[in-house]
Structures are given as structure tokens and as C-alpha cells.
């Protein structure tokens, strides 16, 4: 696990995330993860006729996100927990960065593997900051360094350290708790991150946001992520590769989302992929793949009248008010600016933004629920990037359809 040392700090310059291609591993410089190999790994429980996991062999490339999907009870969680030895394999070998997981003390091993679970499992008696600082503390960092790291991590997952550091978990919403859970998992900068349905217990909107955040984080950090989910759409959205698992964790298909959608290995996989596989490919396109629109912007302390004039001069229907950190806070039309004294509370608040890593599907949803028919795009840490309008999405859909009609003959129907 010596590759561990290569990382750190490389994310800052690449905040915009991966380029168009989904293959970060080949991108190289941002990868801080290491390769995980499972070789004929099995788990048998005494007194049970069939093994829970039967002879799984797979390679998870460094810096990739691999989603393990399958019906509940198929052994995907067991498979994942064998990587950090919360469950000891009965046979087979697991290497992490070339090192045999079995050669390490389980506690030492786990301190180098981030772990985030559906129930979050934050320590209720510790503050948010203490929760995030646990693993750095365990591996013996100085307290000053831990404190810095805690703030850095909270910032990374989009929580203001000053506001949240000293809160207790019960004072947070489900989504915020999950962010803290991810921050805790990443705090000691582990090359590998295991996530067991981490977004399974939050509402759909929050889940979408958290997924976007994870994509953004991963673009910065380049960890090796093993992500367990039963939601195929989530796997498509997050995974560089997807392993569709059957009973006893047997691998039915292990490939890129595009390949699985276009060409399911068998009927079981096809059934799991579900109807509308073609449409789901929409979910493979990201906001960053399309050209963003521009609208006039103003800083929150600008005079409302100046902004109104700019809007009417530019014949723009509306504009965005940004705060000091260039985060969009309010959306206003020229009419709404008449007679107001401050931009701080003009128009209406910007509630929901999408990120460059969001899928077009998410953007479309945001557009449909927005009065002005746009989705505001914010970069990492909330900075304004542009807007996506309905026209842009329609154009993309048309292009996509044309492309698929052209290649339909070559595809294998399921």
C-alpha cells in the first residue's frame, strides 16, 4: 500500500474533475487509489449448505469506482466486508495495492481503508469534528494536524467547518450525517474507500446531491472505491465499472455501465438492468458534456438598480445573485428588482443546483421543476459555473437518439 504516499494535494488543480472520458485510471495524475484483487474468494458459514460467497475473482483497477450491484441477499455486502476483513474469507486471497490483506493486522488494515455505510454509524457522543478526526487520531497524527485535516475534510464534503465542527450527529439532517460519514471515511487519506449503500437511507433529492458530490470528490481524489448498491441506476451513475452479482456473489457481468446497458450478458442481467435501458444512457451523459449557458450575475452587495439596468439592457429575463464565495444564492428577474433595497433578499432563493458531474437526467429534472426553466450549475464547493436550459437538453436528446438509431443494428437485443 505504498502508493498511498503518492497522493495528496493533487486534487486542487483538477477541481473541475475528470475530462470527458470516464476512465480516470488512464488519466493518471489524480489517482491516489490502489488496485484491489480478489482471487477465488469464498465465504462459508458453518452449518450452511451453500457458501455465502463462492469463488469470486475480480480486479478493481486503481482509481476506479466499482459498483457491486445485485439483489438483496446476494452476498455483495459480504464480499465488500471481506476486503477490510470485517468478515474473514474462508478461502481465497485478497490483495490491496499488491499487499496481501491477510498479512496485516485487521485494525491496521482497516485504518487504511475508508468505510462508509448506509446507517452512517456516526458516534453519537462525539462531535462532528471528533468523529472525522477518529482515524487520524488512531494512526497517531498530532492534534494540530488532525484539527486541520478535520476542517479540510468538512470543507471537502461541503459542510462549513466553523458551523458544523462542534455539532453533534443528532443535530444534523440525514444527508449531512452521510457527508460527515464520508468525511470520516476519507480523513486518514486511505487509498481505498468501501461504501455500503451509503445513500440508501436518504430522500431521493438528497441522494442525487450526495451522488454528485461523490463524483466530484472522486474526480479530485482518484480513490479506489468499492460501492455496494441494489440500485442499478445508482451504479450506472457512479460506477466506472459495474459488477452485476448473482446468488452467492457470482459475477454475472463485470464491465463499464455503457457496455452492460448496451449488451447485457444474459437474461438475468437484462432483467436487473430493467426496462428502458436505452433511456438510462441519458444518465450516462454529464452536465459537463454539454455547453453551459450564461446569464448575467451580480455580487450580493451590488446595487439592485445597477443589476436591473444590466438585465434590461442585455434583454435577459433573469439573472443570478452570487455571494462572496461566488455561490449562487438568489435568482431574480428585472421586474422583481424594481424598488428593492438589497440583492440579498430579492427574487427567490436558489434552492437546488446541479454540478458538472450531475447527469443530464438530474439536470432535466431540475429544469422541469424550475419556474424559469433552467438548472443552475455550480462547481465544486458551490461556485457558479453557468446554467443549463431546456433547449440544451433537448438538443442533446436529439443527438443521442440519432446516434443510437444509427447503431441500432449492431446492438444485441436482450
Amino acid at each position: 500500500m505504498s502508493q498511498n504516499e503518492v497522493h495528496s494535494g493533487t486534487g486542487v488543480g483538477r477541481r473541475e474533475g475528470r475530462p470527458d472520458d470516464r476512465d480516470v485510471a488512464s488519466g493518471g495524475s489524480a489517482v491516489s487509489g490502489v488496485e484491489i484483487r480478489l482471487e477465488e474468494v469464498s465465504k462459508r458459514y458453518p452449518g450452511q449448505a451453500l457458501p455465502a460467497v463462492e469463488s469470486v475473482t475480480m480486479t478493481i483497477p486503481a482509481g476506479n469506482t466499482v459498483a457491486l450491484v445485485g439483489p438483496s441477499g446476494c452476498g455483495k455486502t459480504t464480499t465488500m466486508k471481506m476486503i477490510n476483513r470485517l468478515i474473514e474469507p474462508s478461502s481465497g486471497r485478497i490483495t490491496i495495492g499488491g499487499e496481501d490483506a491477510h498479512s496485516l493486522h485487521p485494525d491496521q488494515l482497516r485504518r487504511r481503508i475508508g468505510y462508509a455505510i448506509q446507517q452512517v454509524g456516526l458516534f453519537p457522543h462525539m462531535t462532528v469534528g471528533e468523529n472525522v478526526g477518529v482515524v487520524p487520531g488512531l494512526i497517531g497524527w498530532r492534534s494540530g494536524r488532525v484539527a486541520d485535516r478535520v476542517d479540510e475534510m468538512l470543507d471537502l464534503v461541503g459542510l462549513d467547518p466553523a458551523e458544523y465542527r462542534d455539532r453533534f450527529p443528532r443535530q444534523l439532517s440525514g444527508g449531512q450525517q452521510q457527508r460527515v460519514g464520508v468525511a470520516r471515511a476519507l480523513a486518514a487519506d486511505p487509498p481505498v474507500l468501501l461504501m455500503d449503500e451509503p445513500f440508501g437511507a436518504v430522500d431521493p433529492i438528497t441522494r442525487g446531491n450526495l451522488q454528485d458530490e461523490l463524483l466530484r470528490l472522486q474526480a479530485e481524489l482518484g480513490k479506489t472505491i468499492v460501492f455496494v448498491t441494489h440500485d442499478f441506476d445508482e451504479a450506472v451513475k457512479l460506477g466506472d465499472r459495474i459488477a452485476v452479482l448473482g446468488p452467492r456473489s457470482t459475477i454475472l457481468q463485470y464491465d463499464t455501465p455503457e457496455a452492460i446497458l448496451a449488451n447485457p450478458a444474459d437474461d438475468t442481467v437484462a432483467g436487473f438492468v430493467g426496462a428502458g435501458a436505452k433511456l438510462k444512457q441519458l444518465a450516462l451523459l454529464r452536465v459537463r458534456d454539454v455547453e453551459l449557458g450564461e446569464v448575467p450575475t451580480a455580487r450580493v452587495d451590488e446595487a439592485p438598480e445597477d443589476f436591473r439596468r444590466r438585465l434590461t439592457d442585455g434583454r435577459s429575463q433573469f439573472g443570478l445573485v452570487l455571494d462572496a464565495r461566488r455561490r449562487p444564492v438568489r435568482l431574480v428577474s428585472a421586474v422583481e428588482l424594481r424598488g428593492v433595497t438589497s440583492l440579498r433578499n430579492a427574487g427567490r432563493p436558489v434552492v437546488d443546483t446541479v454540478s458538472p458531474a450531475s447527469t443530464l437526467h438530474d439536470a432535466l429534472e431540475a429544469i422541469l421543476t424550475d419556474d424559469e426553466g433552467v438548472a443552475v450549475v455550480a462547481k465544486s464547493r458551490g461556485e457558479y459555473a453557468g446554467v443549463v436550459g431546456i433547449d440544451t437538453v433537448m438538443a442533446t436528446i436529439r443527438a443521442l437518439r440519432a446516434e443510437h438509431e444509427g447503431s441500432a443494428d449492431e446492438e444485441t437485443p436482450s
Partner: protein, 214 residues
């Protein structure tokens, strides 16, 4: 001699007895807490172990204190030793029971997460589970202390220390000038100290309860 005159003339003795009474109860509660928590930690993962430990300690509590003291006298003699032994035994059930309940109601996902991020077993126990079980343990200690205050009074029968001596001396000097005064002082003293200790527990709870789970 009125009661207040009695108290005025004997206040030094009363203070000594109160101190000895309280100190015996507090110390035995602490010993019982150490034993009780260790027993709880040892058994809480095993349903059978928990059942046996709880059944045994609750059977102990069923034993009349006068009888237990009587049984201890031939073995341990008189005075402090049978007193301390009896008090520790009686204090066990509430603490063992509450430790087991406290530890077994820790959210499994919290335990899973703690193991998953690489805390050692001992670390999970001391830094997570016992912290979360502490309110329950403290509640058990509180019940035990209240019980022991009364039981300790009986220990004076076996020449144990504390306010029980006043009660028994009242009994022995029946008809004497200060018989009632002594018994009243002993009984009221126990009630008063019990209330004070209870208040101390409330304060201790405030001070030691982790803020995040209060």
C-alpha cells in the same frame, strides 16, 4: 432532652456516623460498579451469559439483608468485612443489568462503523460502547446507592459502621432518655443522606453525560 438538644449535644458523633455511613455506601457502590461493569462487559455479547449473570445477581437481591449478614458473620466475622461484602453483593444487580442493557442497545451500525474504520476491540469498547452505555450504568449506580443507604443501617447489627448504630442503640436503650432521639437521628440521617446522594447523582449525570446523547 428534646430531639434538637440531643442533636446539638451529639453532633460530632452524628457527623462521624454519617460520614462512615456515606463512605461505606459510596465505596461499595464504586467497587460494585467496577465488578458489575466488568461482568456486564464479559457477558453482554452472549445471551446465555447475560441471562445467567442477571439471574444470579437478581437472586442475590432477593436474599433478605439480615439473612445475608447472618450468613457472612460465621465466615467473615464482625464489622467492616461482612458489611462491605453484603453491600457490594446487593449493589451488583442494578449495575450488571443496566450495563448489559446499555451495551446491548448501542446501535449495531455504530459498532460496525467503529470496527470498519479500524478501532481495536478494546478501543470500540472504551471509546464508543462504554461511553454510550454510561447513562445506563450511572442510573444503575444511583439505584444501588439508594438501596445500600437503607441496607447499610442493618449492618450495624454485625457491628458495621454508620448510622445504623444509632438505631440499634435506640432499640437497646428502650425506655431510656435518648432511645427515641437516637433512633430518629439515625433514621432521618439516612433519609437525608440518601436525598443528598441522589442530588449528587443528578449533578454527576449532568457533568459526565456526553453532550451528544443527553
Amino acid at each position: 432532652m428534646s430531639f434538637w438538644e440531643y442533636v446539638g449535644s451529639r453532633w460530632e458523633q452524628l457527623l462521624v456516623d454519617s460520614y462512615l455511613h456515606t463512605s461505606a455506601v459510596v465505596q461499595t457502590t464504586l467497587v460494585a460498579t467496577v465488578i458489575g461493569v466488568l461482568v456486564g462487559v464479559a457477558v453482554y455479547r452472549s445471551p446465555i451469559g447475560s441471562t445467567v449473570a442477571t439471574a444470579l445477581t437478581s437472586a442475590i437481591l432477593t436474599i433478605p439483608s439480615f439473612a445475608l449478614l447472618g450468613l457472612l458473620i460465621p465466615v467473615l466475622g464482625l464489622g467492616v468485612r461482612p458489611t462491605v461484602t453484603a453491600l457490594v453483593l446487593y449493589a451488583l444487580l442494578p449495575i450488571v443489568r443496566n450495563t448489559i442493557v446499555g451495551l446491548s442497545t448501542v446501535d449495531p451500525s455504530v459498532r460496525d462503523a467503529a470496527r470498519g474504520i479500524g478501532m481495536s476491540r478494546l478501543g470500540v469498547l472504551t471509546r464508543v460502547e462504554l461511553r454510550l452505555a454510561w447513562p445506563a450504568v450511572l442510573a444503575g449506580m444511583r439505584v444501588s446507592t439508594q438501596m445500600l443507604m437503607g441496607i447499610a443501617a442493618i449492618a450495624a447489627y454485625a457491628k458495621g459502621p454508620g448510622l445504623g448504630n444509632l438505631i440499634f442503640s435506640g432499640l437497646q436503650r428502650v425506655g431510656g432518655a435518648n432511645a427515641i432521639n437516637a433512633a430518629v437521628a439515625g433514621t432521618l440521617g439516612v433519609v437525608l443522606l440518601a436525598l443528598l446522594l441522589d442530588a449528587a447523582y443528578v449533578l454527576l449525570g449532568r457533568l459526565t453525560m456526553p453532550r451528544g446523547i443527553r
